[in-house]
C-alpha cells in the first residue's frame, strides 16, 4: 500500500477501525475553515449593504439585473446540491460508478452556473457597467465574483477527486473524507447563494 505512507498519522490510525466511517478531525477542521469563510462573506455582504445605494450616477440594480437569469442560476445551483447529495449517498453505498456519474452531473451544473455568471459579468462590463463604474458595482462584482470564484475552485476540486477515485484510491476511507469535505464546501456555497439572490438581486430590483 504505497499511498498509505502519505497519510497523516490520524488518518492511518482510523484505517484500522474497519469499515465504519467516523467524522475525522480532517472533516471537522474543514468545517472550521468554512466558518471562517462565512465571516469572509459576512464582511463582503456588510460592504455591499453600505454601498448598495451609491450609484455615482450609474445604473441601479433595477436597470441591470435580469431576474430570469438569476432564477435559472438559482435553480442550477439548487439542483447541483441535490445531485452532490446523491453522489454522497452512493459513496456510502460503495457504488463507485454512480458516484462518478452524479459527480459528473454536479460538475456540468456547476460549470453552467459559472458560465451564466461569466456571461452576465462580461455583458455588464461591455456596456460600461464594470466594477469601476460606481461603488455599488464595485461591491457587487466583489461579492458575486468571490462566490463565483469559490464555485470555480469547487469544480476544480471535483475533477481532481474524480480522477483520483478512478485510480488506486478508489472509495477508501481517505477518499470518503475528501468527498465529505467537498460536500460541505458545495452545500455551503449554495447557502451563500441564498443570501446573494435574496439580498443582492431580489432586494436590488425591489
Amino acid at each position: 500500500m504505497a499511498h498509505e505512507a502519505t497519510m497523516s498519522p490520524l488518518a492511518h490510525a482510523d484505517d484500522h477501525g474497519g469499515e465504519h466511517h467516523h467524522e475525522t478531525p480532517n472533516v471537522f477542521g474543514f468545517w472550521l475553515y468554512l466558518m471562517t469563510d462565512c465571516v469572509l462573506f459576512g464582511s463582503i455582504f456588510a460592504a455591499f449593504a453600505v454601498l448598495r445605494n451609491q450609484y455615482a450616477g450609474g445604473p441601479s440594480g433595477k436597470e441591470l439585473f435580469d431576474l430570469t437569469n438569476v432564477g435559472i442560476e438559482t435553480a442550477i445551483l439548487l439542483f447541483s446540491s441535490i445531485t452532490y447529495g446523491f453522489a454522497s449517498l452512493n459513496a456510502l453505498a460503495k457504488n463507485k460508478t454512480m458516484v462518478l456519474v452524479w459527480l459528473a452531473v454536479t460538475f456540468v451544473l456547476g460549470a453552467s452556473f459559472v458560465g451564466l455568471e461569466v456571461n452576465e459579468f462580461t455583458s455588464m462590463i461591455a456596456e460600461g457597467n464594470g466594477p469601476d463604474r460606481s461603488a455599488f458595482l464595485s461591491a457587487f462584482f466583489t461579492l458575486v465574483g468571490t462566490h463565483g470564484l469559490h464555485v470555480t475552485c469547487g469544480l476544480i476540486w471535483m475533477v481532481v477527486l474524480m480522477v483520483q477515485m478512478m485510480g488506486p484510491q478508489d472509495l477508501s476511507e481517505r477518499m470518503m473524507n475528501k468527498l465529505a469535505c467537498l460536500s460541505l464546501f458545495w452545500h455551503f456555497l449554495d447557502i451563500v447563494w441564498i443570501c446573494v439572490f435574496s439580498f443582492v438581486y431580489l432586494a436590488g430590483v425591489m
Partner: protein
C-alpha cells in the same frame, strides 16, 4: 453496534431527506422570487419577507444538506457555527448601524 451504524447513516442523510430538503428549498426560493415579482407588499415588508425566507432556507439547507443537528457527535460543529453566525450578525448589523449613523450625521445623502 447495528444501532450505532443506523444512527450514523442517518447523520449522512438519505434519499428521502435530500428530496424533502430539496422540495422545501424550491418552495422557499419560489416564494422569495414571487414576493418581489408580484409587487403585492410595500418595499419594507418585502425586505422583511425576503430576510425571513432566506433565514428559513438557510436552516433547511443546514439540516437537510449539511446534516447539522444537535447530536453529541455534532456539538462542536454546531457550537462553531453558532459562533460564526453571531460574528457575522455583529459584523453586518454593526456595519449597517454605524455607517447609517455616520451618513446621517455627515449629511452625505
Amino acid at each position: 453496534m447495528a444501532q450505532a451504524h443506523t444512527a450514523h447513516d442517518s447523520s449522512h442523510g438519505s434519499y428521502s431527506a435530500y428530496l424533502i430538503g430539496f422540495v422545501l428549498a424550491v418552495i422557499l426560493t419560489v416564494a422569495s422570487f414571487a414576493a418581489v415579482m408580484a409587487h403585492v407588499l410595500p418595499p419594507s415588508m418585502t425586505l422583511a419577507a425576503l430576510t425571513f425566507l432566506a433565514v428559513v432556507q438557510i436552516v433547511v439547507h443546514l439540516v437537510f444538506f449539511l446534516h447539522l443537528n444537535t447530536s453529541s457527535e455534532q456539538s462542536w460543529n454546531l457550537m462553531c457555527f453558532i459562533f460564526a453566525a453571531a460574528s457575522v450578525i455583529v459584523i453586518i448589523g454593526g456595519t449597517i448601524f454605524i455607517m447609517h449613523d455616520t451618513a446621517i450625521n455627515m449629511m452625505s445623502r
